[in-house]
């Protein structure tokens, strides 16, 4: 039965003039209401899921709060200046809001066009100057990323897995990255490392700098496609999201099949023949659970290994994302990013001293508060080496 038929019944007894006037608006105007306006008029029903809203705890940077500011800027009700545009950059691009929105809106996606407009006019928070310069000059969030990681890279050689660590892992976790290659060998895949300091363009994309994102993406794909690999595997959910979900929209094609390490390892877990009598809690990356729609993958892998897994309060699609170096917020307000990370760490720490994470970005965000934070491949390698 037609779900909204009741509205017609509800209008019985209404004067013909009012009815016709309403009908005209439904037919002619309803489709003209844009998504940003709808979000701006919402009572903020997604706010409880937004890490920035919870920790920053201000209306202006709440999800609907940001949409309201974007609406007022767009409609010219308030001037475009550094103060007024700043709230639009208070986002960790986690899309947690979309899970609880009746329209499934990502507030980040709604305000992105506004960011894009104001960026092109050169007005943006001075705090992101460094980030934008890095992206323009180095095609990476870091200036001249100098990694000491080197692999047996031979473009001519046919390989199964090209391991693409992503910028955070290359910068901070060189030993761990090399370890992952040993796991691929162990499960029967010839693997090689991609260690060129090129970003996947995630931040440029989320900031709304489309031309820069496309430039970065093309140069990355040119390099990736030089390898004759069946699979590209990355521990970075954002890299996987970009390569697999976003690039195709821009007709940028990666030849190999793309996997997150968890997805890849999950398919071959039995080959490791591991049974682990350990206890741990875990942090779900929302890029993995929401954007890549894999809300139970980490829990599933850990459970299959025999680990006593203790779920935190927020997990899966309800996870509370950290503010890593590949979030916009990190570059706009590092103190707040750190507070968000500490908040998440403290929640996880309530349940276990060992915290397992699916990505090096999460690991980096949760380190430094005490306790043991370990990325999934690193965890597996340690267990393998214990035997």
């Amino acid at each position: 039965m037609f779900k909204d038929k009741w509205v017609i019944e509800a209008m019985k007894g209404t004067s013909l003039g009012t009815k016709l006037s309403a009908l005209k608006r439904f037919i002619l105007d309803k489709s003209k209401i844009d998504d940003l306006t709808k979000c701006a008029l919402c009572p903020n029903m997604c706010r409880f899921a937004c890490p920035i809203n919870i920790v920053h705890a201000r209306e202006t940077t709440s999800p609907a709060g940001k949409s309201r500011i974007a609406y007022l800027l767009r409609e010219n009700f308030i001037p475009v200046n550094q103060d007024n545009v700043e709230p639009l950059y208070y986002c960790i691009n986690c899309d947690a809001c979309s899970v609880h929105c009746p329209y499934s809106y990502s507030v980040n996606d709604l305000i992105k066009p506004m960011r894009s407009n104001i960026l092109s006019s050169g007005i943006y928070p001075s705090s992101i100057n460094a980030l934008i310069n890095n992206l323009k000059e180095s095609k990476c969030i870091y200036p001249e990323l100098k990694t000491r990681v080197s692999g047996s890279i031979n473009n001519e050689e046919k390989i199964d897995v090209l391991y693409f660590p992503g910028c955070i892992a290359l910068k901070y976790y060189e030993n761990e990255v090399m370890g992952a290659l040993r796991i691929f060998e162990k499960i029967g895949f010839k693997a090689s490392l991609f260690n060129k300091p090129i970003d996947c363009g995630y931040i440029a994309y989320e900031l709304g700098i489309e031309s820069l994102f496309i430039e970065i993406a093309r140069s990355l794909v040119d390099e990736l496609n030089k390898f004759d690999a069946r699979f590209i595997v990355s521990p970075c959910p954002e890299c996987v999201y970009m390569l697999r979900e976003v690039y195709p929209h821009y007709k940028i094609k990666v030849r190999a099949k793309i996997y997150h390490t968890l997805e890849f390892i999950s398919n071959h877990l039995d080959k490791l023949d591991l049974r682990i009598s350990d206890e741990a809690t875990y942090h779900d990356s929302t890029t993995l659970s929401i954007k890549l729609d894999e809300p139970e993958l980490l829990l599933d892998v850990l459970s299959r290994l025999g680990i006593k897994v203790i779920s935190p309060v927020r997990y899966g699609k309800n996870s509370f994302e950290t503010a890593s170096e590949n979030s916009i917020l990190y570059w706009v307000n590092k103190d707040l990013a750190n507070e968000i990370n500490k908040e998440r760490f403290n929640e996880l720490r309530r349940f276990s001293s060992k915290i397992i994470v699916p990505s090096y970005a999460s690991k980096k965000s949760l380190e430094g508060f005490g306790g043991e934070v370990i990325e999934i491949m690193e965890f597996l390698l340690k267990e393998i080496e214990k035997r």
């Binding site: 039965m1 019944e9 209404t14 306006t37 009572p43 409880f48 201000r58 009746p102």
Partner: protein
Amino acid sequence: MNEIKEVMRKAPRNREIINELMKLLGARKVSDKLTDLISYSHDYWPITFQWFLKGEVPSLPDAVVFPDSIQDLIKLVKFANENNIPIYTYGGGSGVLGAAVPEYGGIVVDMKKFRNIEIYPEDMYVEAGAGVNGMALEMFLNRYGFTLGHFPQSLYTSTVGGWISTKAIGQFSVKYGGIEDMLLGLEAVIPPGEHLIIKPDPRAAVGPDLKSLFVESEGLFGIITKAYLKIWPYPEKRILLSYASPDLEDALRSVRKIMISGARPAVIRVYDKVETLKWFYMSKKAKGRVGTIIVIEGNKDLVEAERRIVEDAFSSSIPLGEEPVKYWLKNRFNVREISDYLPLGIIIDTIEVAVGWSNAINLYNDVINAIKSIEGTLIAFAHASHFYPQGVCFYFIFGGLPGKEKGVLEYYNEVWSSVMNAVIKYNGAISHHHGVGRMRSKWIKKSIGESAFNLIKRIKEAIDGKNIMNRGNMVI
């Protein structure tokens, strides 16, 4: 470039206080940025969003502060009291009557940094900061095997302090009660700058019940900082039932039977014939009838006993199974009417009232007829969703598209007046759980009587002689 216009502003701008506040609390906790002033200029009063679309707001504060300690609040209240500056307390901003509108400017105090949660499982209560978000609290409790049982439609956006300030109630109220039934104690900072502690006792007969003073006080007496709330074990069993009754009278009679039997299903919702079409769209048998959904939950033995009582009470209605209840459970927080219709010029709002059983049907008929008779009305319907042995809460929903001759505000006020006057005629309560705010203030005296209203004024004067707390609200 247009300017932001203030529709309700009642005092000149005070640009002097910002420096003083920065000295007092530190620059990090104070803002007079335009974006912040706009964000705190309103709550979720539907008519104000009509203004927002035109770049208008109710009233900008002079400053917004973000305290994170009792000491911050004591300093702030002392400062405001000494300098006669109004203070407006802000939680999740989900109030629908303008109670949080800073109509005299002054200082808006955002309480969302007060978000500590501590569970006391042996004594079955939780200590929650006033700024704790409702859903965050419920998720936290669920993780430890408990529930608060408080599920207002604003659950995902409202805060603990806001619940107390507005006397909120949730969808599962028949079993768990309203916030006043859950509240064991609280802490607040009151003028001229004192920390008030009302400790959590299972019950106390030691002087007047001071915590009640803060329930539905809408920020008039001080800033609530913390609450102690009862908790329950997460229900071990849940039963979903639904029925189609011939008419509203029959359905309400069945519910009354349940209420006076002592059974307490968690949820009972009776929809009038129009709203039944919305929530029971999947059931042909419900068409032309009045639909009721019921959720019974808790201890498995008690739940079974309550099921028998409910089935007996609705024995003359058509049972429709679990489907309509599941549909409601899935969609109950789906709030999109304002987003969908306001940009079309259609004003939508809800009015919740309470009335005794003896006047329930007459009140329902009078209100629906009154709203429908107002030119511009498109829809008017209702459900009853909170019940007591003594009576019922009706939740009226209306939508209108006033023509060119009548402005939106004029239409809106006309509807509100007609409903308020009908409720007063039947000696009902003009608000069941949304509160008074700016919208209902002109009817408060008529509703509670002059002597009760005067007593509130005297209490207000005794606590807050300079009237700094939520100045202008309830016209006190």
